[in-house]
Every structure is written in C-alpha cells, then in structure tokens.
C-alpha cells in the first residue's frame, strides 16, 4: 500500500543563460525547469553549499538563490506509488528522474526514483496538495498527516 509523508528538501534556483544552465545541470539533483532556469533539489542542509558551487559555474548576471522556503513537498512511497500518482496527474512518470506540470491541478515538480516519488509545489499550496492527494487517492490508503 502506498504511503504519503511530508518531505523536506533544500532547493536552489538558478536563472542564467542557457550555457550557464547547461553547466549547472552537471550538479547532482539538478532539474531543468526552463531553458534559462535550473532547480537543484537535494537533502536538507545542503543549499548553502550548492549555492556556492553553482555560483562558480554560472555567468555574471545569473541569479542563484536558496529557494528552499518557497517549496512544500510530499512523498509517496511504496510499490504502488506510480499507481497512486495516476490518480493525481496525467503526467507520465519516468522510471527515474524529474517531470513538471499539473498535479491535482496544482503547479508541481515531481522527482521519482521508481519506488518513491516526491511532489514539490509552491509553499502556499502545501496543505492544499495534501488535501487533494487524500481526496483523489485516499481510497488507496493515502492519508498523510499535516506537515
């Protein structure tokens, strides 16, 4: 049975030239969210280090910020995580990696490694995301507690 948990990640947002973003994509946890924007998602406590490393490889006018506070995350774990996700979004999950788009009608970034998937939404939607996940896939046992 899939399980729903609140999750925490550090997020660094990098806006720069295409070449800068290409360079940042070599960072672990980097997700290309736009041609001129990369989002680096990693475990808590890593943002400051990432900002430093990323700042070294981007152009002079690039903007690199610790955007951790701007995101709220929920994780779905278990063998049926992908099935549960099919009740939440029409996005096609890769075997492992990153997709972005509409999840329960909220703008979301989704990271997956096959057995787990992490759904990140702008922080003000965090509780709304949990409520909608439970409403849409609660019948699968996804209940979740408030973050």
């Amino acid at each position: 049975m899939p399980e729903l948990h609140p999750a925490r990640f550090d997020v660094v947002s990098c806006h720069g030239t295409h070449a800068s973003c290409d360079a940042v994509m070599r960072t672990e946890g980097a997700c290309r969210v736009a041609a001129d924007e990369v989002m680096v998602v990693d475990r808590p406590g890593t943002a400051a280090g990432i900002v430093g490393r990323v700042a070294d490889v981007v152009d002079a006018h690039a903007v690199v910020v610790d955007a951790t506070d701007g995101w709220s995350a929920w994780s779905i774990e278990g063998e049926d995580a992908a099935i549960a996700f099919s009740y939440l979004s029409e996005l096609e999950l890769p075997p492992a990696g990153f997709v972005q788009g509409d999840v329960v009608r909220l703008p979301a970034k989704v990271l997956t490694d096959g057995r787990r998937l992490h759904i990140l939404v702008p922080a003000m939607f965090g509780e709304e995301l949990r409520r909608r996940i439970v409403a849409s896939a609660g019948h699968l046992g996804l209940t979740g507690t408030s973050a």
Partner: protein
C-alpha cells in the same frame, strides 16, 4: 436459489446468482419498469444491452440506471421514477390519447399568448416529463479519476475485441481491453460464452482487462474516458480498436414499445443468461439466421414459440414444432399493460396470434458512435461494428486485422423499414407520424428533423433510432447519399454518465495559505478567501484592530503580496520599459510606487518597485495579481528579447506589516545592528536582522501611518510574528485583518485594483497620474496614454462623503440619472462619517459634486480623507 433480495417499492424481490435488477424484477412479474417521456406509455425490458431507455429506474437513489445492466445485490432499493401517482397507474398516460393536441414541436407554437402562459405551461411540462429526479439531498461524492497510458485500447470484450487485443499484444506493447460488463456474461449462446472465456484465459500478461468500464467517448489525443464502477479512467492510447458490436434493429410498428416486445438477443439473454422466460407464449420475427436460432434457444428454455415470421430462405431452418409464416410481418402488437397478442400479415388475411412475448430479430445496427467520434484519429473498428451480422469466425478475423492496425473490410448495415406507424425514438416518444408531420412542415434534413422532433436526442443518443431517422429522410429524398440524409454527429457520452463521474479530479477552489495561517486560526481569526488566499478578515474586534493601527501598533500578515526579484544583464531595461514610473534614477535603497499598464494604457496592477544593488530590483504586486504580474513581466522580457530573469518569490518569502505610531519603537527593540528603522527612507528599504530573522524592511504607507513591511524567509515567519507580539506587548500590539485594513486604506483613498477600478481605467481616471513619467522613454501603454492625453475625462474615481451608510456597488444618481457607482465604502472613525470611493461620469462636461445613493446624500470631496498632508506618515 435465492441469494438475497432487493426492495422494490416496498416489496421484497428475490435474487438469483447473476441477476441484474431487470432480470430479477421480470422474474417477479414486474413488466412496467418506466413510463415514456411524453405520452407516459408503459415500457419494460427490451434490448437487455443498455442500448434503449425502456428499463430506466432509480437504484439506491441514483436515477437513470438501466435495470438490464445494473447488477442486483442484496438490500438494493429500486423504484420507478415516473408516473402520477405511480408507474402502474399513471394518470398522465391520458396524454397518449391526446396526440392531436400534443403534436411534434407543439411547445414551439403554443402558449405564446398571453405571455405568462408559457411560464405556466413550461412548469407543467417539466414536471410531467423528465428522466428521474436528481438526489439533491445527498452529498455529492465524486469518484476517483486516474490516468492511464497504453499502446492499444480495445473497447469491447467480444470475440473481435479479444482477437484484436491478442494480435496487438504480439508486439509487446501494453494493451488494455475494456468492457462495460464482465466479458461474456451477457452472451446468450453457451458456446460463444465458453469461447470468450478461453480467449480471456489465453491473453498474455501485457494485456490488461478492465471489466465494468464503459468507454463514453473518444476525444482528440486520442483520449478515451472510461467510467468504471468506482472510478473514472482517462486512457491515452496510441491507437484505439472499437469493437462495440451491434444492437438488433429496432422494429417499428403500432404497439412496438409494449412491455413484452423484445429484441432477439435481449430475449435470449434473459432466458439463457438469467434463466428468466421473456414470456410463456412467444411469436418470433426473424430476418437473420441468428434470429431463427433464437427460436430454438427460447424453446429449450421453456418458451412456447407459437409462430415464426421469417423470409423464404430461412423457412427451412425453423424448428419443425413452430408454425412458419413465410414472408410474414407484424401489423400491430396489442395489449394495455403488456403485449397480449399480435396481428400478422403473411400472404393471406390478417391473423391475430395470442402471445405474451414478441421476439424480433430483423438485422443489425452497429454501435458505431465511438467509431464516428474517432474520425481522423488512429481508431479502427472490428467485428459487428464494421461488419454487422458477421459470423464468429469473421469477428475474430476482423479483430486480428484491427489489432495489427490493418484495414477491416466494412459491410453496410441493415437499413430499417419504418412502416406507417409506431414509435421510432423510444427516449423522446417520437413516432412515424411525428416525422411525417415535421417533414410536411419543411424540416427536411436529418439535422433539422432531429432538432425539431428531438428524435435521437434522448439518453440513448440515437443508438436505436439514429438510422431510422436517416432512412426516413433518405426515403423521402429518394437517395441515401444526399447531404441532407447523412447521419447526425456522434458526441460523447455514448452511454449515460453520472454527474459525479464527471466531477472526479475537479477542484473548485484553491486555498493558498501563508506560513502564519495556523497563528491566525489559533488567534480566533475569521478566515475567508481573498484573491485566492485564505486570509484573516478580523480577529473578532475590527474596531479595536483599526484603533491599534491609528493609535498604537499593529501587525498584519501581508505574505500574500506578489514578490519578485528581477535580475539579469537587462533588468534595468526591462523594468524601465514595462513600468510607467521613473526607473533609471532610482538608487539602491529607494522605492517608488509603480503602475503596470497594458498596451491600451489601462491599469492592470500596482505595487512597489525597490532598487537593489547590482542592477537588480525587488517588485511587489497585489495579492491576487502575482501570477499575472509574473506572466506579464516574462512576456515583455521575451517580446523585447531582453536578458532579464524574473523570479517569483511570492512563495519563498513571507511578509509582516508593522504599522502604527509605535511601529518604529517596536522594531527598534528587535533590530540587530547599528542603524535602526528610522534610517530607512520613505519609500525605501534596507536589509536588516529583526529578532534574529533576516529581513528586507520596506518603508510603506498604505494604511496612512508609519509602516514597515518585514519581508523574510517563509520558514521564519512564525518566529518573527511571535517575537513582534511579545516585544510589543506593553505597546498594546495586536494583529489586524482585512476588515480593519479596508477602513484604513479608504481613509487614505488608496485604491484596490480590481475593486475600485474598471478594465478601461487609465491612471488619470484613478487620480494616479503622479505615477506616470511620460517624459521618460517608451514604456508599455505610453503611446495610448499620449493619444488619450488631449481627450477630456468622461469618468473618474472620486472620494465620496455619505449622509447615511450606502453600500459598495450602489449606483450614484444625479438629477435622476445614474452617473456612477460606489466602489468602496466604510464608516470612518477618523472622519466621523461614512466615506467611500466611487466612479462618477461627467454630465455636460463637468463632474457633478452632489449625488444620491439610494436615500443617502453623497458629496464628492477631496482625498485623502485622513491626514491629507501625510504628516503622520512622515512622523
């Protein structure tokens, strides 16, 4: 053996294994399951395949359930929807004897004079017709909705569908087969049922079966929604095979809708699958070999088949015990509560045959609505749907071809004969006479005949009668190929869908929450939606909250404001080109009120522009305008080809406004570092640490008192809020909500974009001309403003003083004419009277100053109402 019972209008009806609601009721002797829409004629089981509306009942409070398709279970509650006072004794059946008064389209021509007649007639018509009553007293509970991708979706789990699935699966792709029931369960012939189960058992692992899942349409994509028993599945296949089969042709003759008249497959399904006899004495009409075989099946089940009306070439195949009426046809069926006999014509004089069932198998009408919807999409048909009446072997072959995406040879379907009387559209009670009358009135194509008569527009969507209407028009025009005789469009849903199936995955309101949400709730705030956010309107004492701002110090959660960081090599260029204010002279640490205009020069948002070091800017916008502002900035950056980055920090940052005469003192207590809040220019900003929280402190003046917005990391919001409340305890600090804010900002005549503005308000109309720097270079909207500069203002936003307490939205009158509207109003403690804002139109070139709003006298007054010199703001 009984496996329980259902409740039918107060009586218990025993259930047998495999029963549907319809089969159980028929076994219990219930013949009338509903009444027809218009004439309230009795209707009972007919097709047994969900194609017709004749067995529509309410099951467990859900109206419109097909009794023939709804699995029965113990404890179910079933009732019939129509009839006054009941379906068995229906006084509204009197309409059936008044055809002359209720001709087709009568409601277009009658009840026109006097004018109130239609409103009365409409109410009566609506009450006497309809297809069940919605369960309005039940809480809606949308079913879950999920998404699925596959290579091939096969709709229909018959021989053709399963053959298609097997063929499609050979490539290794993912194949999904859906069927609206359990595969094979509704097939009357045991050998075919067995063969289907064998085919299911042979399906490889890459084929997924979705039984009890009904495809209700095909959309672009293709996207095929499947309605399941407890979910909606939105399937996005690479291609679709439609193998939905065919329904036997609906026969048209007088009395063709009496309970006891069955389509052949329906009768054999009732007998062969459910073990329920359609009747004890039956007359059979068969134009197909399958139809003749049905006679044997009915006999084997215990039905006495008294006569078979067949074509000459089928006569020899009829079992010897049955009287054969070669070339015979049914002239009429007789009965009141159900069929008791038929009049047949078979070469000689008319004969009457007594019977309690009439089984008719004339040919096949493909269920091709999905196929028609799939035109232009990767959709193929297989089996009866493209080769109606095909043999089992043909079905398997065609399925195998469709499964590998090969073309299947089509065969023309049976063209129905209408005769001179009888019901054509069972859903809408349209008979042959109605079609004739409409034709005579000039409605001479299938499309307009459909619209005028409503034939094909009922719940079955023309599944039974669509081809009849086409055949009628073709016969009248003498050719089936003329445009006027083409079939009408097929549209979803092809099967009735419950509203809550469609509601799955739909969310009506999005609640954005600030990091301080729980603090507001625990403080007893009344939380309501405002601009997409849940915000505190008051903490219980709006007057006290107002007073705290004016006389002491107060906090407000303004984390809802749009917040943007603008950077990049061309950041200055972007900001200068998009905003109307001066930009290039703004030094870091200073701020300026900004207006965002569209190309027409009309105000779309406002906010504050703060210059940062390094050519970057921090921009705030209204709470509801953040998404639009982001899109607007990005759009212009793209259009100008500027190297600018727009970072929406609305979610990242919280913001708390500290306002009031003691705001500075409160902040000084928590300020860390040499300079204090007094060092911040107005309007301007500085980075500071307040109560240990890193903040960008903005000096603002929306409420008309000394105010500082502390923009901080969202995760530190609660910490900062609590620290401010603790530190200001002796100053009487308390939070204020939107109710108090509304009074405070009206006193300063500060506009709410959207509430006080109209879509065509340019800055001058709002008295915001000071925020426009026409002398600087081009900016968005400048050209339009320049063109409008010489035009006199025809309308403007003004300050209003009320002798009374008129409400926002009330019209403003001058000399009896409406010349404006109140956009904001409030009781002002500072002014001691009701004040407001509103727009006023010029009358004969001047703006009136004395107006009325209802009974209240209204005077146009200068603004701001409070502290016009801004002394308190700069104190």
């Amino acid at each position: 053996m009984s496996i329980g019972s259902l409740e039918f209008e107060g009586a218990r009806v025993a259930l047998h294994h495999g029963d549907t609601v319809g089969s159980a009721l028929h076994r219990a002797g219930v013949r009338t399951l509903t009444r027809s829409l218009k004439y309230h004629r009795r209707r009972g089981l007919y097709c047994m395949s969900g194609d017709c509306p004749n067995c529509s009942v309410t099951v467990d409070g859900v109206p419109g359930c097909r009794a023939c398709m709804t699995p029965a279970h113990d404890g179910q509650v079933v009732r019939r929807d129509r009839g006054l006072p009941s379906a068995d004794l229906d006084l509204l059946h009197a309409a059936d004897f008044a055809h002359a008064l209720l001709p087709v389209g009568f409601y277009y021509k009658t009840f026109i004079r006097p004018r109130f007649a239609w409103s009365v007639a409409e109410r009566i018509i609506r009450r006497s017709t309809g297809v069940g009553r919605l369960p309005v007293d039940r809480e809606p509970s949308p079913e879950p909705s999920r998404h699925m991708r596959c290579d091939v979706l096969v709709v229909g789990g018959g021989l053709a569908g399963l053959a298609a699935a097997r063929a499609a699966s050979r490539g290794g792709g993912r194949v999904v087969v859906c069927d609206e029931g359990v595969i094979g369960e509704r097939i009357g012939q045991p050998d075919i049922r067995r063969r289907l189960r064998e085919l299911v058992d042979e399906l490889p692992d890459n084929v997924q079966l979705l039984e009890h899942h009904t495809a209700v349409g095909i959309y672009e994509g293709p996207l095929v929604p499947l309605v399941g028993p407890s979910e909606m599945v939105r399937v996005e296949p690479q291609r679709v095979v439609v193998a939905t089969g065919a329904v036997e042709t609906h026969p048209v003759f007088p009395g063709n809708d009496l309970p006891g008249v069955f389509l052949g497959r329906g009768a054999t399904r009732l007998a062969g699958v459910h073990g329920v006899l359609p009747g004890t004495r039956s007359v059979l009409v068969a134009a197909t070999r399958e139809g003749v075989e049905q006679a044997s099946m009915l006999q084997a089940a215990g039905v006495t088949v008294v006569a078979a009306l067949v074509n000459r070439d089928l006569a020899d195949t009829v079992p010897g015990s049955i009287e054969v009426l070669e070339g015979g046809r049914v002239a009429a069926a007789h009965g009141s509560k159900q069929i008791v006999g038929v009049t047949v014509v078979a070469g000689g004089p008319r004969r009457r045959l007594d019977c309690d069932a009439l089984v008719v198998s004339l040919g096949y009408s493909p269920r091709d609505a999905l196929l028609l919807m799939g035109a232009g999409l990767p959709v193929r048909g297989a089996g009866d749907v493209v080769r109606p009446g095909c043999s089992p072997e043909e079905a398997v072959l065609s399925g195998a071809r469709a499964g590998t995406d090969d073309e299947v040879d089509a065969r023309a379907p049976h063209v129905p004969e209408l005769g001179t009387a009888g019901v054509v559209c069972l859903c809408e009670d349209v008979d042959v006479e109605d079609l004739e009358r409409a034709w005579c009135e000039g409605w001479r194509s299938t499309e307009i005949l459909k619209r005028y008569t409503t034939a094909t527009m009922g719940p079955c969507q023309g599944a039974l009668c669509g081809r009849h209407v086409t055949a009628f028009v073709s016969a009248k025009l003498g050719s089936p190929s003329v445009p006027a005789a083409v079939r009408t469009s097929a549209r979803p849903p092809v099967r009735p869908v419950r509203l809550w199936d469609l509601a799955g995955g739909v969310y009506h309101a999005t609640d954005r929450r600030t990091a301080l949400h729980d603090r507001h709730v625990s403080a007893g705030a009344r939380m309501e939606r405002s601009s997409g956010w849940l915000r505190p309107f008051t903490y219980g004492d709006a007057a006290g909250e107002y007073e705290a701002v004016r006389e002491g110090v107060s906090l407000m959660d303004v984390g809802t404001l749009g917040k943007f960081l603008i950077g990049g090599a061309d950041a200055v260029e972007l900001i200068d080109r998009v905003f109307a204010c001066r930009v290039r002279d703004l030094v870091p640490g200073r701020a300026r009120y900004l207006l965002a205009l569209d190309e027409g020069g009309y105000v779309i948002d406002d906010g504050l522009l703060d210059a940062l070091a390094g050519g970057r800017f921090y921009v705030t916008s209204t709470s509801g305008g953040a998404d639009r502002m982001e899109a607007w900035l990005r759009n212009w950056a793209d259009r100008y080809g500027l190297r600018a980055h727009v970072l929406n920090h609305t979610a990242l940052l919280g913001a708390i406004n500290v306002a009031g005469p003691f705001a500075r003192e409160l902040l000084e207590r928590l300020w860390e570092g040499a300079s204090g809040p007094g060092s911040i220019a107005y309007p301007g900003h500085a980075d500071a640490t307040v109560a240990g929280v890193p903040c960008t402190v903005l000096s603002v003046g929306f409420v008309g008192e000394t105010s500082f917005e502390l923009h901080h990391p969202r995760s530190r919001g609660v910490e900062l809020w609590d620290a401010l409340l603790r530190a200001g305890d002796d100053l009487g600090v308390r939070p204020h909500g939107l109710d108090a804010l509304d009074v405070l900002r009206v006193e300063k005549a500060h506009v709410y974009i959207g509430q006080d503005t109209l879509p065509d308000d340019h800055p001058e109309k709002l008295g915001l001309g000071f925020a426009v720097a026409m002398e600087k270079g081009p900016f968005v909207g400048r050209g339009a403003l320049a063109r409008m500069a010489d035009l006199p203002l025809e309308r403007k936003l003004v300050g209003l003083s009320f002798d009374g307490t008129p409400q926002r939205g009330m019209p403003l009158r001058h000399g009896g004419r409406v010349v404006g509207r109140i956009t904001s109003s409030a009781w002002s403690p500072a002014c001691g009277r009701a004040i407001g804002l509103g727009w006023v139109r010029a009358v004969d070139g001047t703006f009136p100053s004395s107006l009325r709003a209802g009974d209240a006298a209204v005077t146009v007054v200068p603004t701001p109402f409070y502290d016009p010199d801004g002394a308190r703001l700069h104190a």
